[in-house]
Amino acid sequence: MGGSLDTTDESRSTAGATTRSDHPVVVCLEDVTKIFEDAPAVDDLNLEIYDGEFFSLLGPSGCGKTTTLRMIGGFEEPTSGRILLGGREVTYLAPYHRDVNTVFQSYALFPHLNVFDNVAFGLRRKKLTKVEVARRVGSILEIVDLPHYEKRKASQLSGGQQQRVALARALVNEPTLLLLDEPMSALDAKLRRQMQIELKRIQSQVGITFLYVTHDQEEAMTMSDRLAVMRSGKIEGIGSPRDVYDSPSTEFVATFLGASNLLAGTLEAASGALSSVTLTDGTSLSVPHERVPALAGSTTLKVGVRPEKISIGVAGTSVPAGHNALRGRVRVSTFTGVGNQYLVDSVSGTELTVYAQNIGQELAPRSGDEVVLTWPIEHTFAVVPMTGSNDEESTNDEE
């Protein structure tokens, strides 16, 4: 455990949150498809997860993230495709032959066993000596902060404690990969925040690769080294939370991961590093060329900007160089303490949300004020307008 601990700390400082592609691949999914009753739950999925990383699969319910996890765990067999674990193919291997452990959504602790026996279950199946079992169970219960709970039954523990036992029960086996299936969904908000921090601490302490499945975008962003946003069995965006947030690749990612202002427009000819998009009212906006997705023959797209990237000024304010600008009228202005939230009707007909931080500025625009919205061009992105029928999914993200 000690050796892997060092490598994780090292990688965190050097690679930061961007990528670990220099690390060995722990899990590799090749063209994996899972069909349930004629409908694909996972659709031709390709994914690589690197050693020591905290990777999240994020998406609304029914997007295929849990099915993906269950296929890696061995609880479901893919309809087609291959799954490799540490370079070895495990596609049809039984779960008890895989070096993978799982923290189940409902924890699935053994109700007839106490905490010690629950945690020792895997080690005993691996025929470890009594002394070794006791030593490892003791040390993992220390790590999850549950010492002296050995003799308690699972039913005598609180939700948070049960989760720690489930975590210890899986981690004690020191698997190549730990699967976590929405482990926070049974906890209340406060405990959830606390466990998020705990989970990060434990992960860096044991140095095991985590694959975390969640529908909570905030949870995925705060915890992950990398994340993938899934919709209808496909990955729509993958990368570090910052990359996926700042440069969303699809309209779904832009709206599911945080909030986005999206303005429909037409792509004009590119000039140098910038592409120009004309909105319906004729306003022209610039988008960095590398952020314009490939448009299959069409020129319609949506230009996006995050609400916190926009500066709001009274009409007539001069637009700084390298900025996009859009005129509008404030419809609603809400003071939220840390700042102001504005709903602005733009001249292009789209309503924009703007978050302005409360840094003590005197002149906050009020409802009805004519304003000009400006933001740096590098914070502008473009996405292909969403087609498909799964729009309702984004609204029911609670299981």
Partner: protein, 303 residues
């Protein structure tokens, strides 16, 4: 403020008291039918039996006199201890057979029955819509020397000539096992049905193969059901007389047959009652031992 409290006081108390009485009586009123049933059909006969066991009957006249002694008891036990042992062995064998047969059935229905679980359970019970006696007599037909099974076997020379099943211990145990199968299957089904399937996933996740997951997770979690099934099968099978009467022979008489004969053929009420008391005591002892071995928590949880 003081005034309002004073005026409120009586008004608040009266309706509360009425509600309290109603509420306090409700459980007793609701349990009245069951209570009456228990008293009339269980407590009273039990008391009668205990009183009768204290009498002594004359075999010649058939008249019984109260002697306030259990003098009859050791005599009867001495006379029929072989039949007690036979009953114990037969009931145990039938119970074990039933557990072995019923467990896979109950497991399959609970885990793989899907939305047709109730249908499968009813299919399991369909033979038992027919009377106990008729079912057992049908077995007599099936197992008789001219019945389908033996006719087939002897014609194909699979068994030596003169081979018979009826009248043997095997026939009695088979009859007992057949007749008490639902008493085993249903409690097992209820217990297995309650096992969270995800716990099985967790066992496989933690390196338990199918055998190991069954032994370490399914079996312990089904234990309350196994215990209930054991009690519900073993106890009636222990006192059963009909299977032995119809399917058995002279050499394998069970205690139930002896008791029945005491009451209905020999009119030896004291002797029959004494044997019944012993039967009851042995059954209770069995339950107590089993509870001590497996713990009473499983009973509390289940029965």
């Amino acid at each position: 403020m003081d005034e309002s409290v004073l005026t409120d006081h009586p008004r608040r108390v009266t309706p509360r008291r009425r509600g309290g009485w109603g509420k306090r009586l409700a459980p007793y009123l609701l349990s009245l039918p069951a209570g009456l049933w228990l008293v009339l059909l269980f407590i009273v006969p039990l008391a009668v039996m205990l009183v009768q066991s204290l009498e002594t009957c004359s075999p010649a006249t058939g008249l019984c006199t109260m002697t306030w002694s259990w003098g009859e008891l050791p005599h009867q036990v001495n006379l029929y201890h072989q039949q007690f042992i036979t009953s114990l062995l037969f009931a145990a064998a039938a119970t074990v057979i039933d557990l072995v047969i019923a467990f896979p059935i109950a497991y399959w229905i609970a885990f793989y029955g899907g939305h047709r679980k109730n249908f499968f359970l009813i299919m399991l019970l369909v033979p038992f819509f027919v009377s106990f006696v008729i079912r057992t007599i049908v077995w007599e037909f099936i197992l008789s020397n001219n019945g389908i099974v033996l006719t087939f076997l002897t014609r194909n020379h699979l068994v030596p000539s003169g081979f018979h099943v009826l009248g043997t211990s095997y026939a009695v145990v088979a009859g007992l096992a057949y007749n008490y199968l639902p008493f085993t299957a249903l409690p097992l089904y209820v217990a297995i049905e309650r096992i969270d399937r995800r716990v099985l996933d967790a066992a496989h996740d933690l390196y338990a193969n199918r055998t190991s997951a069954f032994r370490r997770v399914i079996l312990p979690l089904a234990m309350p059901g196994i215990f209930a099934a054991f009690l519900l099968t073993f106890i009636p099978a222990f006192g059963d007389y009909l299977n032995q009467e119809i399917l058995g022979g002279v050499s394998n008489t069970m205690i139930g047959t002896v008791i029945q004969n005491s009451f209905l053929v020999n009119f030896d009420y004291a002797g029959g009652a004494s044997l019944s008391v012993v039967l009851l005591a042995v059954s209770l002892l069995g339950i107590w031992l089993y509870a001590r071995l497996l713990g009473t928590s499983t009973i509390n949880e289940y029965l």
